[in-house]
Amino acid sequence: MQQMMIEIIDVVKHYQNASRAAVNHLSLNIPQQSVFGLLGPNGAGKTTLISMLCGLFSPTSGKIIANGWDIAVDPNKIKQIIGVVPQEIALYPKLTAYENLLFLGHMYGIETKELKERINHNLEILGLLSNKDQQIKNFSGGMKRRINLIAGLLHHPRLLILDEPTVGVDIQSKTAILEYLKRLNKEQGMTIFYTSHHLDEAEDFCTDIAILDEGKLITKGETKQLIQENGCRNIEEVYLKITGRKFRD
């Protein structure tokens, strides 16, 4: 039987003063070592679900189990094994790339010598070693995205949560990011939880996909299986078939 990294059990999240639940009776299993794509229109509840997976919010009801721990009970245990790459460039523009990574690595409690080795290794793989002493504010969008990714990988997380990691980057940076992530998934067995609006990218990158709309799970399954079951040519057709063409915002 396949081991689960995350089990989401009938989770509801209703914000104070909100007219409807952001996440509405969601149940979902994310297998270990999978690359799991969570897709959905704006306001589907993706960011809320990520915040709950990171232990920032508690569900209004239901339960989230990650690596066998209940997130509501042991949020700090979950935080030890997850790496987060937010949609925003969550870096300090006035610090250099190296200073940013050194600070964030120390916040994960990594020893200085080991940390420096990991920083240099990651910078080299993503082609940024020669730029490490430049301030982030002088970086291009693609360079910032790559540093943003490295910041989430320094402590070798078992579960990596990526919120639209390739927004606004050129094809070279996008390829470098996705290839590195695939390598980490294969070589280190890292589970990847990924959200994006780039459906072709998701189709190519993810082993499993779930589609959310208005807080509810619409469909889930292995990527190829979803395309076949819906009689479509690609995930974009599946997505439009299931969620429709109505604007959500």
Binding site: L95, M107, Y108
Partner: protein, 423 residues
């Protein structure tokens, strides 16, 4: 400990590369204390020192004018200028603000004063009823005092009293001269010379009631340096709240919150760094008061010798200011909102707390409101050490209030974060 160190190091790097924040925290308060002290020095001097411009119009050219001028000079409170002007011209110059006070001594005032004094003394020695009832010059002898309309009533009264005192002395001198003359008339050939000792029989001794042996006179430096130090400390709420909001907006706060226990270190790093900034501001402002202001002719700041107490005040004020900045940064939704709210609120607290206008000149009801401002607590504590020589025990209530303010701000920020932003 390592996490705290790296958090502090990160905050330090971010801050020193933010030129605007550095200017707000260090250059602006120095410029403010420099400018305001120079400007207010004139006001303090107008009450304390020899700089009140006085116009004297002497139409008498005799003893009264001479003695009045000499006595006024002796007080060292006035810059006296003598001019030959009409009453209308004097009125014009004073209403224009060129002089604060004008004194017009009418023609023959000395002679009339002597005549009046003589007539009074003569009456004492005359027994003849006809002479006793002889008419005397009853027309009043007047000195005209003209004041600039901005002059405060209390200052006007003190000047009038001083002039009255001088005139009384001149009157007394005239009467003594007349007495000598009359006595010589009664006892011809006698060597009569009554000497009048003009020294007062009852004197008052004035001193400042301080607890230290040194007596420091409040002046613009003693007021402005601690006042603007408090202002500068609380103004760190703008860069600090901006820093917190930036981290929230760019997703750094989100990332840090996903790390085990790290956000606590990040917040502690911020508190520690801004505490250090507060202490640096404190020493910088004291240095301005001690070394820089005397270079332009202002008095040097006297800090007393309770250094430990001063450090305690600076630390507690720094904590209060940091707590306030954290609260503003947590509650405000944008950097603009935080900058506007923070600046306006600090300016209001400063105005209430006596930064611009010392609380002792405020009306009674304003003094009660002023006591609610944390800037007032810090300022009163500094006054206590600088001017009154009070030690740690004496200023402890102010220090405790500042620490309580920090606790309330931190509690407010925590509850707002947990029960509002994360729900």
């Amino acid at each position: 400990m390592k996490k705290l160190f790296y958090s502090l190091y990160k905050e330090y790097k971010v801050l020193v590369r933010d030129k605007a924040a550095m200017a707000i925290m260090f250059v602006m308060p120095m410029a403010l204390v420099f400018l305001i002290t120079v400007i207010q020095d004139t006001t303090f001097k107008s009450v304390n020192e020899s700089s009140v411009p006085l116009l004297l119009v002497d139409r008498d050219h005799d003893t009264l004018a001479l003695q009045l001028e000499r006595a006024l000079s002796k007080t060292r409170s006035f810059v006296i200028e003598k001019k030959d002007l009409t009453t209308g011209e004097v009125r014009e110059l004073i209403s224009n603000g060129e002089y604060l006070i004008g004194i017009i001594i009418p023609e023959k005032s000395s002679k009339r004063l002597r005549d009046k004094a003589g007539a009074r003394i003569s009456k004492l020695f005359v027994t003849d009823d006809t002479l006793q009832n002889a008419p005397v010059d009853t027309a009043s002898l007047q000195l005209n005092l003209l004041f600039d309309p901005i002059t405060k009533q209390s200052f006007k009264m003190s000047i009038s009293s001083a002039v009255d005192g001088i005139v009384s002395g001149v009157e007394m001198q005239s009467m003594v001269s007349e007495l000598n003359y009359q006595l010589k008339d009664i006892v011809p050939g006698a060597d009569v010379d009554v000497q009048f000792d003009s020294k007062p029989l009852l004197t008052t001794v004035q001193e400042y009631a301080t607890k230290s042996e040194t007596t420091l006179i409040p002046n613009s430096v003693q007021h402005n340096v601690p006042a603007w130090t408090m202002f500068a400390m609380f103004f760190i709420c703008i860069p600090l709240s901006g820093n917190i909001i930036r981290e929230r907006e760019d997703g750094s706060a989100f990332r840090l919150l996903t790390m085990p226990g790290s956000y606590m270190y990040v917040i502690s790093g911020k508190i520690l760094l801004y505490m250090i900034v507060s202490i640096l501001q404190f020493f910088l402002m004291l240095s301005v008061g001690i070394y820089l202001l005397p270079l332009i002719g202002l008095p040097s700041l006297q800090v007393g010798d309770n250094y430990f107490t001063l450090i305690c005040i600076a630390l507690s004020a720094g904590l209060a200011a940091t707590g306030f900045g954290l609260l503003v940064g947590t509650i405000a939704n944008s950097q603009d909102q935080a900058a506007l709210f923070g600046a306006v609120f600090v300016v209001m607290l400063a105005a209430l707390g006596g930064v611009w206008i010392p609380t002792f000149v405020m009306p009674e009801f304003m003094k009660d409101i002023s006591a609610l401002s944390p800037l007032n607590w810090g300022l009163e504590a500094f006054y206590g050490v600088f001017l009154r020589g009070i030690g740690l025990v004496g200023i402890l209530p102010h220090v405790l209030k500042l620490l309580a303010f920090f606790t309330v701000c931190m509690g407010g920020a925590y509850f707002y974060q947990v029960y509002h932003r994360m729900r």
